[in-house]
Amino acid sequence: MPETAPATAPLIHARGLRKCFGAFTAVDGVDFDVAPGEAFGFLGPNGAGKTSTMRMIGTVSPVTSGTLTVFGLDPARHGAKIRTRLGVVPQADTLDNELSVLENLLIYGRYFDLSWAESRRRAIELLEFVQLTDRANDKVEPLSGGMKRRLVIARSLINEPSLLLLDEPTTGLDPQARHLLWDRLYRLKQRGVTLCLTTHYMDEAEQLCDRLVVMDRAKIVAEGSPRQLIEKYVTKEVLELRFPRAEGEADDSAHLDGQLDGLAERIEQLPDRVLVYTADGEAAVATAFERGLRPASVLVRRSTLEDVFLRLTGRSLIE
């Protein structure tokens, strides 16, 4: 096998990739390619098979069947070689709590065969990059969730990886911490680092991903850029209507039977609201009022990947 892949070859290449745990199939024959320099995402709810896919790419989980190459290499045979060029941000923080912030980076560089001096040079630079310089000698434990996440990202960069795997990088973080993290990831992308991430936040996928696949129940159900997916599967705008709950009814909108028919090409009745998919939200509002409907609240908004997911699977991303 050649050690150098041509620049146009995908960094990650998967065909019919499967992962089974006993009788349970976590990943059921997925196909995808990740090109150098792109930000690629796996969007899907918990349990869709995203983490299992990432672990296979990270060479820490054996492939059950199908083809997977990373940097053109087979993870089963060249695991260590692949990991040399890989940065991994796992879902759980896995920091070394017995070491200080700086020491976490120093020793991690050693695991990548860096000299102490080189490891220290990069560690200091990376602490600057993730804005943790003033916490360098602190213990890891008392850091906030956002700081720990940033430290994990710094740690994943110590070997200057050309491919960064991020498994739900911002889950559990407050909005401010998320935006800081997104900013750092965006800068990495500008430096030419290929990003491969999983998320169940549609806004994160829209912010970060050039291209993504939507995963549901171990399968890929759609693929494209965020814009393409929205154009293909949903309308430009969504009208959200909420109705006061009628006596003795389980759903707020259950009493509407048929009054919304024909208002738009597609209408989704959720327990707490009605989604009307339409090219012109304001026009749909007018029509609704003409028909005598009196919703408690009206919201016209741009369609999101959340709507794409709902359309494809009939369920919300975060349940």
Binding site: T4, F21, T84, P90, A92, D96, I107, Y111, F112
Partner: protein, 269 residues
Amino acid sequence: MLALRTYRPLPLTRPARIVQRNMLVYRHSFMVIFSGFFEPLFYLFSMGFGVGALIGNVPLGNGSSVSYAVFIAPALLASSSMNGAIYETSNNFFYKLKHAKIYDAIIATPMSLTDVARGEVMWALMRGSLYAVGFIVVVAVLGLAGLGLLTSPLGLLAFPAAMVVGYAFAGAGMAATTFVRQWRDFDYMQLAIMPMFLFSGTFYPIDAYPPALQAFVQCTPLYRGVHLIRALTTGTPDATLLIDLAYLIALGSIGLAITSRRLGKLLQS
């Protein structure tokens, strides 16, 4: 950009990084390391000199006899190697494996599971050898003071022999720990360690047992370690030391191999 360096480290280069990691941890609290230093000395003073004064000499297999302190000193050295190795590879290793989950992060680097297992054994051995050196130094000083605990120049080999004992128990202890599911399972491990410490010819010759029991005790690793070190410090070596060595090295190596496999199951599902 994608040219992948082919870096071939020496066999112990990467395991040594685990040792370095542990040294960083203990840099913050290195006094803890010395806790294991005193236990064998306390035994030596209380049993060897205290109880020993009541006992008189103990016959060795070859017809000669030695003072009780001389008899138990090598056994205490073997036991402290065992305890040091077991302590590091049971509780400490389990904490890192299941609670701190530090290996989950390490396996995302070029380090292999075998590197991890070897590194932790190296560390356990280093910690154990610190105790062995301390113990031997105290024994040598007492010897200079006229107590004559070391009766043979072969006694100098007690140190490498203690390392071999440490290796055996580090490998075996680590392999056992990979099967532990919760902290209280370690009670079972103590259930094996404690009787081995008391009954493996540590405090009295195993001639005291009926033949069947003697044969059984001779199959335990601590007996082999005690037998090995005692033959060296009392200057009574024979060919059976090769059995001790082969047994202990095999136990450590099999333990290491099992550990690598089990870590694969636990960390790379």
